[in-house]
């Protein structure tokens, strides 16, 4: 059983014009086996939360804590966080020209697992996961994310999650850019991973449609850089019916 605790987290985005505060005291605790949905309007700071936890250099934590089983995540480098068991499925996966997907996946698995996976098992493992996500085998030889459609990028993010086996996975708007069929495929891969692994999941989304496929245990409304209301999955239905207006006006006050 692992725990990810976010305590009174404040963070700025670093820009050429100076720092701008985005997160204003986020409190959230996720335990293995739990799925938490973070829902909020655009610009509320949801993605900043995910980048701050992952350690993106454009975001600076000004106060607060992120603890993984009591260990201070904020003192770790980006790669140390990944090796400690954190995974961020990115909203905008980055292209790396000239680096094949298969080389990248194997390098990442070697780094996270601490040793190179046995080739025979590895090939089968990758093939099975790609099959589950309906990714055509030819993608293994293509450069990382280069020329991929939005949906193809998202499938590959989930592929990486399945292969790197994190303790905590943050899925940042993984549903955006997915059509109905792709959403179903990606969701079932996430559900499969959840049912076979002790994982805590943070689902960041703007829309409730993802939550019809991946059932959350908790729903948090995010506005003005912090969690403004928490509840069960019924909260998502309420948001779908009423929108975020109530929360954005409250946060502005």
């Amino acid at each position: 059983m692992a725990t990810l605790e976010i305590k009174d987290l404040h963070a700025d985005v670093v820009t050429d014009e100076g720092n701008k505060p985005i997160l204003n005291g986020v409190n959230l605790t996720i335990r293995s086996g739990e799925t938490h949905a973070i829902m909020g309007p655009n610009g509320s700071g949801k993605s900043t939360l995910s980048y701050a936890i992952a350690g993106h250099p454009k975001y600076e934590v000004t106060s607060g804590e992120v603890l993984l089983d009591g260990e201070n995540v904020l003192e770790m480098s980006v790669d140390e966080r990944a090796r400690a068991g954190l995974f961020l499925a990115m909203q905008y996966p980055v292209e790396v020209p000239g680096v094949s997907m298969s080389n990248f996946l194997r390098s990442a698995a070697t780094a996270v697992r601490g040793e190179a996976p046995k080739l025979r098992h590895w090939v089968k493992e990758v093939k099975d996961e790609m099959g589950q996500l309906e990714i055509s085998p030819e993608f293994a030889e293509r450069s990382v994310n280069e020329g991929f459609s939005g949906g193809e990028k998202k499938r590959h993010e989930i592929l990486q999650m399945a292969l790197l086996k994190p303790k905590f996975a943050i899925l940042d708007e993984t549903d955006s850019g997915l059509d109905v069929d792709a959403l179903r495929t990606v969701s079932s891969a996430v559900n499969e991973y959840k049912s076979n692994n002790e994982v805590g999941v943070m689902l960041i989304t703007h829309y409730s449609r993802l939550l019809k496929h991946i059932e959350p245990d908790f729903v948090h409304v995010f506005a003005g850089g912090k969690v403004v209301q928490s509840g069960g999955k019924e909260l998502a239905d309420e948001l779908e019916a009423d929108g975020y207006v109530k929360f954005t006006t409250e946060a502005a006050v």
């Binding site: 985005v13 820009t15 993605s47 980048y51 992952a54 350690g55 993106h56 250099p57 454009k58 480098s77 980006v78 790669d79 966080r81 990944a82 090796r83 995974f87 961020l88 990115m90 909203q91 905008y92 996966p93 980055v94 292209e95 790396v96 020209p97 000239g98 680096v99 080389n103 990248f104 390098s107 990442a108 780094a111 996270v112 450069s143 990486q160 790197l164």
Partner: protein, 392 residues
Amino acid sequence: MTVADNTAAANVAEAAEVTIPAASRAERFASYDVEAFEVPGGREENWRFTPMKRLRGLHDGSAPATGEAELELETAPEVRVETVGRDDQRLGQAGVPSDRISAQAYSSFEKATLVTVPAETKASARTLVRLHGPGEGKTAYGHVQLRAEQFGEATVVLDHVGSGTYADNIEFVLGDGAQLTVVSVQDWADDAVHVSEQHLKLGKDSRLKHIVVTLGGDLVRVSPTATFAGPGGDVEMLGLHFADSGQHQEHRLFVDHAVPHCKSNVLYKGALQGDGAHSVWIGDVLIRAAAEATETFELNRNLVLTEGARADSVPNLEIETGEISGAGHASATGRFDDEQLFYLQARGLPEEEARRLVVRGFFHEILMKIEVPEVRERLEAAIEAELEAIGV
């Protein structure tokens, strides 16, 4: 603002400067005689990027030969090697020197090396011509000609190593239907200055793959000029360079399409790191009125790995006929991409390994086109060593 927006901005942050030359490239003066050239001052179009003081007098006649470059040869059994005097009628066939240093070299060499691939013969092994510089503090001039006679086929590696100051002309003369792959490697010691004009002359239906690799040296300036003697010629010009702190690496290309139905394809990629590292790439392509059905494309990409390094990239395309198959150019200089680094690190790869992956990926496209395994392996090792040097 999203992170992705920043990535896109960073990648085009240093879009190349594209200038219209003051005069058409066709007007550029050329002569075998050094005295026919004025001494350049450094402001001329041809010299404006070159640090003239570091040329050690190669450009102004104040650098007489004080040493000799030494040749080491490993030739394929079918390939002939001769040492000839200045009066050999075959010399100068591939082109005329187009700058003062090239003319100085042409006026100064005493013996030339001629490497011939006989007609209708395919060399069974690669040929290596390794040239050792004259030594620290010494100056030498040289001349090498590679000839592939009609339908001859071969792969030749020209390897430049050692110390000193060296200027030369290298000629590639391809007979009709000949196929030649040549690699010119500039892997000099830190003190070396090398200025080289390379003349590529393609016969009817011949194919030349010309690869320039510049790694070492204080100042290296390589100017390859490709011309076509008959229709159907196809030249692929590839370049890979890696400049470290203080190094000046300049590659000035000129493809002169004066004959119909010829093809040229240029791809140069360079990485730079460290204070004062400077690379210059000039890509002049001229499609003359007679050169109908020409197909040409040129591309230059630079990757700036650290602060303090500078890449200049100037593509020039002049087209004098509308009857062409295609013509284009592109050039871009990008900084090392923090977003790529973050992405790879977020997948558990330590920073050093992530950087290596990105740089290897950058050069991958070009390494895959170098079919000479020993050269490719050496380049891979050299790239690793360069990365090692800045501790990534």
